[in-house]
Structures are given as structure tokens and as C-alpha cells.
Symmetry: none
Subunit: 235 residues, 2 copies
């Protein structure tokens, strides 16, 4: 009937505030789990699931399952192309508050992933621990070395007690903002708890964002040879 391709359906898919928020979030090229996208769009998981299903059916997104998580990302480059082309003609939206944009930046820098630390800091810390030889990779996990046993004890962590729990000791956890691994499991959780106790990191008012305190910067530098400039990590 219509001699034109149905840009209507595609545009209608993008033309919903919840779905657009998700799409813009996925423009970075990263794959994000459904729950994260629901949070970004400020809607319930049920509604998000409905939207994600429609966008997959419409060819905007594809998904991959990892365990109970389902990661969504843009189907192809052309989708990103179209979103960018729309951005060109879209009026700029006023930034509601500085705090929100700061918080968004903070999420990439440092946040908690359940009970362990993630973001740039999480990945960098895991890297340093590997580099210093405190742990070594072992399949999907990390195993503590002799030297690690000693250093973790100095840091205030009892590896012995951890071994008594049935939880995974030190699992590799995929980081959505860095696309690399950070440390999960009881070791990751205990370290993060210790970082809170030491006052190196503090939870921001709400959400999962975390800030590194002044003593934290000093501590990370001294204990793990991590370097910062202007409150950002040097890699």
C-alpha cells in the first residue's frame, strides 16, 4: 500500500520517553541488563521488559543471556546512526540538576555492584591486585597467592574466615561501564566492606554511586600504588 518503508513503526518505538531513555543509554555501545535499563528509565521491571521486547521485535535491540541476567544492546550501527541523526534535529533538553549529571559520572567512576565495588575503581583495583601478585586468575575465579594471604591480613581481612563460608571465594564479575572484570565473591565483598570501614569510600545519598574520600585517595595510592589526578584515575 505505502510505497515507503515503515519508518512509522521505528519512529514510534523511539518516540516513547521510557524507550528513548534506554536507547540513549545504550548509544555508548555497551550491553546492559534489563534491571539497569529499567532503573535508567525510572519504570518498573515489568514495563521495561515489555518495552525491551518490543524493541527487539522491531530490530532495534538484540539480547544475550548470561545466567539470570539478560544483556541488551543496540542491534547494529545503523540504529546508532539513526539515533544520532535524530539528535541533530532534536532541541537540547535542559539539564535538570547538576547533581544528576555528577551522579551519572560517578556511576562510571565508582559504584557498588551488589556488595562489591565496581566501575573504574573496581576494575583498576582488581588489576592492581593481580599485578602485585596477590591473586592469580584461575578459570572464572581468582585464587589467593602466598603473598596475597599476608598482604590481605595486613589490610585487615581474614582469608581463613572467608574460606569457611560456602560462597564463591573470588569470582570474576563483568563490569558494564568498563567492559572488563572486577572482583566479586566473598573476597570482593569483604574488601569493599573494609574500604567503607576505613572511610576510603562513602556511599552517595542514593543509588549505587560511591565517592572516594581524601583518605581513600591516599590509601589507594599507598597500599595499592594507584595514582589519581583531579579525582580521576590514571591508568
Amino acid at each position: 500500500m505505502e510505497s515507503t518503508p515503515n519508518i512509522v513503526e521505528i519512529a514510534a518505538l523511539i518516540g516513547d520517553s521510557s524507550r528513548a531513555a534506554m536507547l540513549v543509554c545504550l548509544l555508548s555501545g555497551k550491553a546492559l541488563p534489563a534491571s539497569e535499563l529499567a532503573r535508567v528509565a525510572r519504570i518498573s521491571p515489568q514495563t521495561a521488559s515489555s518495552h525491551l521486547g518490543k524493541m527487539v521485535a522491531g530490530g532495534l535491540l538484540v539480547h544475550e543471556s548470561y545466567g539470570r541476567h539478560r544483556y541488551y544492546r543496540l542491534a547494529n550501527q545503523e540504529v546508532g546512526n539513526a539515533l544520532e541523526a535524530l539528535s541533530v534535529i532534536a532541541p537540547l533538553k535542559p539539564i535538570r540538576s547538576l547533581r544528576e549529571s555528577e551522579q551519572s559520572k560517578s556511576l562510571h567512576f565508582a559504584r557498588t555492584c551488589y556488595d562489591h565495588i565496581a566501575g573504574e575503581i573496581g576494575v583498576a583495583l582488581t588489576d592492581k591486585i593481580l599485578e602485585l601478585g596477590l591473586v592469580r586468575e584461575e578459570g572464572r575465579d581468582y585464587a589467593v597467592t602466598e603473598e596475597g594471604m599476608e598482604r590481605f591480613k595486613e589490610f585487615g581481612l581474614s582469608i581463613e574466615n572467608m574460606k569457611h563460608t560456602r560462597r564463591h571465594f573470588a569470582r570474576q564479575c563483568l563490569d558494564w561501564s568498563e567492559r572488563r572484570h572486577h572482583m566479586a565473591g566473598i573476597l570482593g565483598a569483604s574488601m569493599t566492606k573494609r574500604l567503607f570501614d576505613l572511610g576510603w569510600i562513602e556511599r552517595m545519598s542514593e543509588g549505587r554511586a560511591v565517592i572516594v574520600t581524601v583518605t581513600g585517595y591516599e590509601g589507594f595510592a599507598k597500599e595499592f600504588q594507584m595514582t589519581f589526578k583531579h579525582h580521576e584515575l590514571c591508568i
Copy 2:
């Protein structure tokens, strides 16, 4: 919420079947009266008026009044770009005729961007002209070189006359399908007109797609050392 442009409203505007029909009809670059657009979308004049008002408010269209007629056209070339970018990811399912799918491919290959040539051909031609030293980049514009003056004259273009117009001489225009620049401005328009006059390119029945004729293939090869195989460009 975020500092990103507000693509929601724009996409929602395009994501209505009646409005999309009007927009696609206006993709040719023509200005059409409201009644004609109502007829194309198969809706009443009242409804059409409502839609047109919203699209003007949203920055998609502009209107000019001539007597009791009101002519609507796309606000700028970026709107056309966005519509075409959407059609790239849309026509996956309903390809009704071979001609339509050919036309979609043609849009990537060669099309007019208002009055100058774009697509693969447009970008490649601009590249060649740069490579041959006929123009050089100068900020957001291109400037003709000594050699360019001579070669353009041989090609049938009077740089002198162009300088007398108030229009930009040779502007860089971003190409959505190639993500690179092609040449706009009076020089780009004049070259494109010359290509039509020489019969190197011809406008397809409707829309902005353009085909390269047999003499065009020979001409591009001879004059600009551009090579093709199977009616596709070799880069």
C-alpha cells in the same frame, strides 16, 4: 534528566502514520500545500492542519504563505537526513517491490542533499577533488586552488560567477550514510547541476535517489580517476 538532546519528541512526531506519510512526501524537497498533504495522508484537512502545526512547532517543517495557500516543506536538510537514516533500519520486512529495495540502496550510493550530491558518490567525489588538489580544506569550508580554478573551468564551471553570489562558496556538509563530509555550497550545487546537464547522473522517478548513467561512469573515471565495478564504487 540528562544533557542529551531530546529525541523523544522528534521521534514521536515522526512516529505517527499520517505525519510520516506527509514527511516522506516532502522528502523530495518540494514545498506542498496543506490540502495536498492531507490528501496524501488520507485524512481530513482539520486533522492535517493539526499535524502540520505540531511538526512546525517541533522544528520539522517550515511554512510559507502565498495567498490563501500555505506551503509546507522540510525545515532543513538534517530533517531529511534523519528520515532517511530511519528508513535504513526500517525496511527489513516489507519490501514490496524490487524497485523499492533498489531505491533504498541507491540512497546510500547516490542522492541529492537539496541541490548538491551526497552518498558514496558525493563523498568519493569530494575526496578525489581534494586528492587532486583542486580544493583544500579551510576550516569548515573548502577553498579553490590555482589548479582547481583551471580544471573547474575546463569542466564548464565559472568560479568567477559563483563568487558574486552571497551563498557560501564550498561548505562541508556531513553525510549521514557515510559519516564523512561532502561538498555543499554554490560550488557543490553548481557541480551537481553540471553533472545533471552532462547526463552523468539522473534523478530517479521520485525522492532524492540518483542514478549514475553509463556516460556518467565513463566521465567520473576519465575526469576524476574514480573507479567502479558492478555499478559500485571502488574506494
